[in-house]
C-alpha cells in the first residue's frame, strides 16, 4: 500500500501564465487518482501569484518552481523534475489533455521493470490532415490504438519516468529535456527500458494552420539536427546531410502499421498521407540545414512559442467571406 502522504505521480508543467495551463489542470482534476497527484508548475516569478486555489484544490501537492526563464524550456523542465517529490514524474505540456484514468494506468504500468512509460496518444483537434500529420509524426508510434509493447524511444515531453532515473542523469538532465533525441541516447546508454501503455490515454493538440504548420515542422527538424550537430563529428553530419532526403520516405514506411490501424478506425481525413510526407520533407530540410550550419540560436525561442501556445494555432483559419 502506497504511503498516502507521498504523491504517486508528479506532473511537471512549464508555462508562462497560469491561464495557459488552465485547461490541462481541468483535465487533471478529473483523474481517478487526483489525490495522489503532485502538480509542479515551472515558471517565472509572477506565476506564483496567478494560481487559482480552488482549481488546484484536491491534489496531493501543488508547488511552483520559480526559474529565471522558461526559454529554453529544457532546463526549466529539469528544474521541475528536481522539485518533484513523487517517485514518478511526468513531463507535461500546455496542450495535452489526459483521460480520467490516464494517471492511474500510468502508475500501474510502472510496476513493471521500466524506467519510464509512454502513454497512448489521441488527437485533441482532429480537424484536418495537417493536425493528424503532426500527431502521427511526433506520436504516431504511440497512437492509443496500437498494442502495448516496449518502446525504443523516450519522448522528451509527455513521457513518465522514475524520478531517480532522470536525477541520475545529473547535469545532463537540462540538455536531455530539450527537444531532440538526447534523452533517448542517454537512457539507452544507461540500459534503461521504456514501455508504451496505450491504456494511459492522453490527447495532444496539434498545429492545424498551414503557415505555422510549415514553420513548426521546419523548426522541429532544425532543433533535432542542431542538437545532433553539436555532438557529432563532421563526417557523421555529412552522412546524415546526404541521407536526409530519405527521411520522409523512411518516416512514412515506419508509420505504415500505424496508418493502417488509424485508417481502419476511420480516423484519418483525406490528404493525411500527403501532409505526412510534406511535413517529413520540411522537417528533413530543417535537419539538413542544421547538419550544415550547426544549431540555430533563434530556433528554440521560436519553437517555445508553439510549445506554450499551441492552442493559438490549433484551429483551422476560418474561411473568408
Amino acid at each position: 500500500m502506497a504511503d498516502p502522504r507521498v504523491p504517486s505521480l508528479g506532473i511537471v508543467l512549464a508555462t508562462d501564465r497560469y491561464d495557459t495551463i488552465r485547461p490541462v489542470i481541468h483535465r487533471l482534476r478529473r483523474q481517478t487518482i487526483r489525490d495522489r497527484l503532485e502538480i509542479v508548475l515551472v515558471g517565472e516569478a509572477p506565476l506564483a501569484g496567478e494560481l487559482d486555489a480552488a482549481e488546484l484544490d484536491g491534489f496531493a501537492r501543488v508547488h511552483v518552481e520559480v526559474v529565471g526563464s522558461i526559454d529554453p524550456i529544457g532546463p526549466a523542465r529539469a528544474a521541475g523534475v528536481r522539485a518533484v517529490r513523487a517517485p514518478l514524474v511526468f513531463i507535461g505540456e500546455t496542450h495535452t489533455y489526459a483521460d480520467p484514468q490516464w494517471a492511474e494506468n500510468l502508475v500501474k504500468a510502472h510496476e513493471g521493470p521500466w524506467a519510464g512509460v509512454v502513454p497512448g496518444f489521441g488527437n485533441a483537434n482532429p480537424v484536418n490532415a495537417l493536425s493528424w500529420s503532426l500527431l502521427l509524426l511526433d506520436y504516431g508510434q504511440w497512437l492509443h490504438l496500437m498494442p502495448s509493447r516496449e518502446s525504443d524511444i523516450a519522448p522528451t515531453h509527455n513521457g513518465a519516468f522514475r524520478r531517480q532515473v532522470l536525477l541520475d542523469l545529473g547535469a545532463d538532465l537540462d540538455h536531455a529535456l530539450h527537444q531532440g533525441d538526447r534523452l533517448t541516447v542517454l537512457l539507452r546508454s544507461a540500459k534503461r527500458r521504456m514501455y508504451f501503455e496505450p491504456a494511459a490515454r492522453i490527447d495532444h493538440l496539434n498545429v492545424a494552420r498551414w503557415k505555422p504548420w510549415l514553420r513548426e515542422r521546419y523548426l522541429s527538424g532544425r532543433l533535432l539536427g542542431g542538437r545532433r550537430a553539436e555532438r557529432w563529428s563532421w563526417p557523421r553530419r555529412l552522412v546524415y546531410l546526404l541521407g536526409s532526403p530519405l527521411i520522409p520516405v523512411l518516416l512514412v514506411m515506419r508509420l505504415r502499421p500505424v496508418l493502417a490501424v488509424a485508417r481502419r478506425a476511420g480516423l484519418l481525413p483525406r490528404g493525411t498521407l500527403a501532409a505526412l510526407f510534406t511535413a517529413g520533407v520540411v522537417s528533413a530540410v530543417g535537419e539538413m540545414v542544421s547538419y550544415l550550419l550547426g544549431p540555430s540560436a533563434d530556433a528554440e525561442p521560436r519553437m517555445t512559442e508553439y510549445e506554450l501556445h499551441k492552442v493559438r494555432y490549433a484551429a483551422p483559419r476560418p474561411a473568408r467571406g
Binding site: Y218, W234, L238, L241, L242, P245, V285, M288, V289, L292, L293, G294
Partner: protein, 330 residues
C-alpha cells in the same frame, strides 16, 4: 585625402570590416596597376569609424577616399562605395583577390564597345593546394577561369566585376539589394538588352576558402541569398515550384563544373578528385536555394558578410603566405 586634379578613370571600391592592414595586400596590388595614377581608391569602412589609410601605402593613386557605413551587409557597403565614387567606371575589389598589373587598364579598355554595362576579369586560383579551395573556386568562379571564354556573357563574377557607374546608380534604392547577389543583377541587366563582357586580359588571382567547416556553410548562405534575391518579385506558386525543383540544382551545376574543368588549359585537379567535396558544396548551395525560394534570405546576407572579409582567417596556415609574400614584395 590625397587627390590629383581631373577625374579618375576608374574607381576601385574596396570594403572592409576591419582595419587598413586587412586590405593592405590588395592595395599593394592596386598600386602596381599600369594605370594606378588614374585610379580612385574608395575604401568602405564597415565597422571601424577610426579607419585611416596608411598614407605611404596609398601613394600613387589618383585619389583615395574612405566611406564609413557602419556594420551593414556587403551589398550596402558596396552601394555606399558606388555612390561616393567619382569615376564613370567602378570596379569592386576584395581583401583576398589580387589583380595583375594590367587588370584595371584591360577592364577600362573593354568599355569602348557600345552598350556595355559591365566588364569582368578572368581568374586563377591563388591558393590551389587544397581540394576545398578548388571546389570553392570552381563553384564560385568556374565560368570565368577559362580565358577562351571572352566576349559577351550571361553573367559575370560577383564582388570583382566592373560597371558603368550610371548603370548602378539607376537602380536607386535597389542598388544595395542588387549587389548582395550580383548574378541576379546581371541576369536583369541582360534582360534589358545590356551587354556583359568578359575581358581575358584583365586577370586576378582569387584566394578561396580553404577550410571545409567554413566553406560548407558559406555555400548554403550563398545559395539562399541568391535565391531570395532572384525570387524577390515572384509570386508564391513560382517560388514554391523553384523550391521543389531545387534538388536538381546540384546535378545541373555539377555538369557545368565538369565542363568548366575539362575546357581549361591550366593545370587543374581532375573532377574525380574534387567530386565528393564538390558535390557536398553543391548540395549545400541547393539546400540554401531551396530555403531562399521558400522562405527568403533570413539572416544569410549577414552571415555572408561575416565570412566575406579577412579571408586570411579562413584558409590553412600554409596559404597565409599569400598576404605575407605580397608584403615582402611591396
Amino acid at each position: 585625402m590625397s587627390e590629383t586634379p581631373g577625374s579618375p578613370a576608374i574607381s576601385v571600391v574596396l570594403p572592409t570590416t576591419s582595419d587598413f592592414a586587412s586590405i593592405a595586400t590588395t592595395v599593394r596590388y592596386l598600386r602596381r596597376q599600369t594605370i594606378a595614377r588614374r585610379i580612385e581608391l574608395v575604401i568602405v569602412a564597415m565597422a571601424r569609424p577610426d579607419l585611416v589609410p596608411d598614407a605611404s601605402a596609398c601613394e600613387g593613386f589618383h585619389a583615395v577616399q574612405v566611406v564609413h557605413t557602419g556594420r551593414r551587409s556587403h551589398g550596402h557597403a558596396c552601394a555606399a562605395g558606388v555612390r561616393a565614387a567619382r569615376a564613370d567606371v567602378v570596379v569592386f575589389a576584395e581583401d583576398h583577390c589580387f589583380p595583375e598589373p594590367a587588370w584595371a587598364e584591360a577592364l577600362l579598355s573593354a568599355y569602348v564597345s557600345p552598350g556595355i554595362a559591365a566588364v569582368g576579369p578572368v581568374f586563377r586560383n591563388a591558393n590551389p593546394a587544397t581540394t576545398v579551395s578548388w571546389c570553392d573556386f570552381v563553384i564560385g568562379y568556374g565560368p570565368w577561369i577559362d580565358p577562351d571564354a571572352a566576349g559577351d556573357q550571361p553573367f559575370l563574377a560577383g564582388h570583382n566585376s566592373s560597371y558603368r557607374r550610371d548603370v548602378l546608380l539607376a537602380l536607386g534604392d535597389g542598388l544595395a539589394g542588387s549587389l548582395e547577389s550580383e548574378t541576379v543583377l546581371h541576369l536583369a541587366l541582360r534582360s534589358e538588352g545590356r551587354r556583359l563582357v568578359l575581358e581575358p586580359r584583365a586577370r586576378a588571382a582569387h584566394t578561396n576558402f580553404g577550410r571545409f567547416a567554413v566553406w560548407l556553410p558559406v555555400q548554403y548562405h550563398c545559395g539562399r541569398v541568391f535565391a531570395s534575391e532572384r525570387a524577390r518579385r515572384w509570386g508564391r506558386p513560382r517560388r514554391l515550384f523553384y523550391a521543389a525543383a531545387s534538388p536538381l540544382i546540384p546535378c545541373v551545376r555539377l555538369l557545368r563544373a565538369a565542363r568548366q574543368l575539362r575546357g581549361s588549359p591550366e593545370q587543374r585537379p581532375s573532377l574525380l578528385r574534387l567530386l565528393p567535396v564538390l558535390m557536398l558544396g553543391l548540395v549545400a548551395d541547393g539546400l540554401g536555394q531551396m530555403i531562399g525560394y521558400a522562405a527568403g534570405g533570413g539572416g544569410s546576407a549577414g552571415h555572408l558578410t561575416a565570412y566575406e572579409f579577412r579571408r586570411v582567417d579562413f584558409v590553412p596556415e600554409s596559404d597565409r603566405r599569400l598576404w605575407q609574400e605580397a608584403g615582402a614584395r611591396g
